[in-house]
Structures are given as C-alpha cells and as structure tokens.
Symmetry: C2
Subunit: 271 residues, 2 copies
C-alpha cells in the first residue's frame, strides 16, 4: 500500500486553515534567508505561500551572502523580542563565514518551530515536551498514524543521522516505544541491519533500499529526495522493485515531502 | 579479557589529583541532597570524599524530605550565581512533590557536571560540545579507550533508555561512529537483537545477557548493578557463563561503577 503523503498533508493543512479562521490572534512567521541559493529561495517561498494560505502572516527577511554574522544575530534578537513574531525560521545552509551554531543557539526556543535549538533537542531527548517537534520526523509520524501503522515494540532502522531528520526521527520513534537502530555512512553491514527492520526510514540522498532487504511486512519510509542522472526526482528506495514486495511504502515525490510542510504548518499554528 | 574499571579509574583519579595540584584556582563542588534515602546518602558521601581526595572543595547542602520546591530552586539560583561554585550536583531521586524537570532546568548548563539539563543534552545530540558529558557513558568510553577497543563502524546495542545512562550512551557511541540500537522494556525479540551486536551495553538492573547471545568477538559492558536474592552485588550480565565466551567484559562490581566516579571527577576538574 502506498502511503499518500500528498492527500494526508492536504487534509491536515485544510484543518489548520479552518482552526485558524476561528481564532482571534494569528501566528506570525519570520523567515531569515541569507544568500541566493536557488533551492533555498524555492523552499522559503513555498513555506511563505503555504503559511499565507492557512491564514498566517509571513515575512521573509533577505540578506546578501556576504552579510556580517552580527547583523543576523541582531535580527534574531529583534525577532525574539518582538511579541508579534511567534515563529522564527532560519533557512539553511548559511554562508561559511556565519556560525550555524551561534545562529541556532540565538533563536528563542519558544519560537523555534524547526526544533533546531539545543534546548528543544534536549527536551525531545529526555522525554520533556519540547516547544516544537522537528518538522520532518513529526510529519513521518503523522503519516504512520493516519494509516494506523503500529510503532510500539517494532524495530525501526533509521539510515542517516542529520540533526534535523535522522537523529530526531530516532528519538521520536524511541518515544513511541520502537526499538531504534541508527545507521550512517560508517555503518558496517548496512544491508544485514536493514534486513532486521520492521520499519525502514532512509534519509540519505542516494539509492540505498533494495527489494532483497525487505519483506511483505516491511514499512518503508523514504525521506531522501534528489535528482537522478536523468534529472528526475527520486528517493533512497528503489521504488519500482520495493513497492510490490512490502506492506507500506512512501512514494517520492508525494510522500514525506508534503508531510514535512503540513507538520511545519502545524508547528506554526501551535506557535 | 576482563576490563578492570577499578585500576583504570584509580589511574585517572590520581592523574586528576596531580593535575589539580599544579593549578592555582580550584573547582568547588556543591551537592544538593534532599530526604534521607540511605543509598543517596552513601553516593553523596562517596562523591564528596573522592572530590576532596583529588583536592576539590565539596559541600553538601542537606534538606529534609518535606522541603518546599521553591527552597531548592532558590538554592540552585544562589549556587548558579556564586562565582566560587563551579559544579552543581542534585542527587536523584527527589521527593515526589518536587518537580524533577523544574529542578534540572534550573541548573546552569555551565555548572551541570551531570549533563542533566536540556541545553547540555541537546548539545550532545546535535554534535556541539556540551559543557560536560554525562558521567556514566563518558566513563564507559574512557574504559573502552584505555583498552584500545575500536568503536567506529561497530554495532552497539544499548539496553535501557534512562536519561542519564542509556540515551546519552547511545548518543556518545553514535558520535564515535558506532551503529547504535536502543532497546528497552517494549523491545520485541531482544535476544535476537543482542545477537547482532559487536558491543553490548546493558543498563537495566536485571539479568539480561546470557552466553547464547554473545560470541568470541563480543564486547560486553555491564552497567546494571543491584543485589540478588542472596544479597550479593550483581549486574545485568550472567558473568559466570558469559565471561569465558567473549573477548571483553566488565565485572560487577569493579567495572563501570568506578569509571563513573572517575568520569565525574574529570568533569568536576574541568569545571
């Protein structure tokens, strides 16, 4: 069965729009965009458009690639102090002369809708409520829940250990009582480990998951998204050969991508 | 081969004593102890004694079990603000009417030598430097390093997911490029998962690891410590049957326990 992220996402976003229409106070999203990476510009524009669709005020604050670090830090201070601003996003990547760590640590945890700050990551890890859960892993869980796919006690293998996807995905699956294995570029015998999984979550950006690694009870979540040599959007899973074998699978595109947007909108409304 | 935590710990502690003797400014450890749990009193007394042995000033601030939460929070504020105090420990468990979360969040991350605060846990998770690493997992890594046991690329299975042992152990092994599986009370097929491990770390408090789950290349780290029905100190590993089979194993007592103390002293000196 194909997990239809596009449909589930659309429903969540429309529910958020209805919910927000009833409220007298609205969230206000501030996005910081540095430099002119074309992919970043597209992402930021899409977030703003979707936020405005559900009734959220959204402003993009743009800076040239050579902006001084202190200017960005002061802007964050200003957004933190502005009581109208409820949500702050800093689009990554930042230019090399700007310290990503300093920028992340400067964001108020109460406005950190990406769950980038150590405070929120720490809360997530030790079982306290973070102010927000990170968008992509939260979106994956929303999708699993939409199809009533059980998580507790299952063995989830997470491939990739980025701070915004792989690592919080592992923590959130652990909070839902999965047994969780974290794999990455240094993992030996990756194929054998994937074979032991009930739930496979891949967030790498290259072709990893093949049909011989899964079986008819597997749940396969594909977070990787990139263009292949022919310029087509593809994911970490060989969809053609894996889809007929497994119980559940997400497509690329139309799987985790739209869920990430829905999940981010959920956080912004919560803010 | 038996990993001699007692010997390695003694060497680390003596090195710390020598290092500290050369310094003009000394750390100052403040310990908060609430109630009269006998085990807690023993732990606190041992920490103070060991700290004083290496040349650290250490004070215990004792409160009755019925102390108000606000008194503890104000004491933490005072210790945070006191520039002479470099390290703060709050002995757990606390009485039920005192919020553990509030207490933990109140400790300054710069004095949080237990690595309890969300800020430090978050830094640990996202690959930033925490001010301190949690004592037990750091002690385990010190022990593995003392015997030059490779970690990178190995599959480590961590059993138990407490905030102070299991979860940070997993994160620290991941930072050292192990593939890490987190198991716990809801894990299905625990035995099969342990069989796939190169390194087994058990922190549960009951007999879990048997000889049929390990082989001659296994590294077995036993963090569990409790008294069996005969009143003898024992761990999670059936030492008698496992020790002849595996490559490396920690005894209980004399394995991870002394390493935890050495690791905590390392943090206090660093403070």
């Amino acid at each position: 069965m194909i997990l239809d992220g596009k449909a589930v996402s659309a429903k969540i976003i429309d529910d958020l729009k209805i919910e927000l229409a009833k409220k007298s106070t609205k969230p206000y999203l501030a996005v910081i965009l540095v430099g002119d990476d074309p992919a970043s510009r597209v992402y930021v524009r899409n977030k703003k458009k979707k936020a405005e669709y559900i009734g959220v005020r959204a402003d993009i604050f743009e800076y040239p690639a050579n902006v001084e670090e202190s200017v960005i830090l002061e802007k964050i201070d200003e957004l933190n102090d502005n009581p109208e601003v409820t949500a702050i996003l800093v689009q990554m990547p930042l230019p090399e002369h700007i310290s990503k760590e300093k920028v992340i640590c400067r964001i108020s945890p109460q406005k950190d809708v990406d769950c980038f700050t150590p405070e929120n990551v720490g809360r997530l890890t030790i079982g306290m409520e973070p102010y927000f859960y990170p968008a992509t892993p939260q979106g994956v869980l929303m999708l699993l829940d939409a199809y009533d796919i059980p998580i507790e006690g299952k063995h989830a293998v997470v491939i990739g250990r980025s701070n915004i996807v792989g690592k919080p995905m592992a923590q959130m699956l652990l909070r839902r009582n999965a047994t969780v294995t974290m794999c990455h570029s240094k993992t030996e015998n990756l194929e054998d480990i994937i074979k032991t999984a009930d739930i496979v979550v891949s967030a790498v950006g290259k072709k990893i998951v093949r049909c011989k690694m899964v079986d008819k009870k597997s749940v396969v979540i594909d977070i990787g998204i990139y263009r292949d040599s022919n310029g087509n959007l593809t994911g970490d899973v060989d969809f053609e050969e894996v889809e007929p074998v497994v119980e559940y699978i997400t497509p690329v595109p139309g799987g985790v991508g739209p869920m990430t947007i829905a999940s981010l909108m959920y956080n912004i409304v919560k803010s």
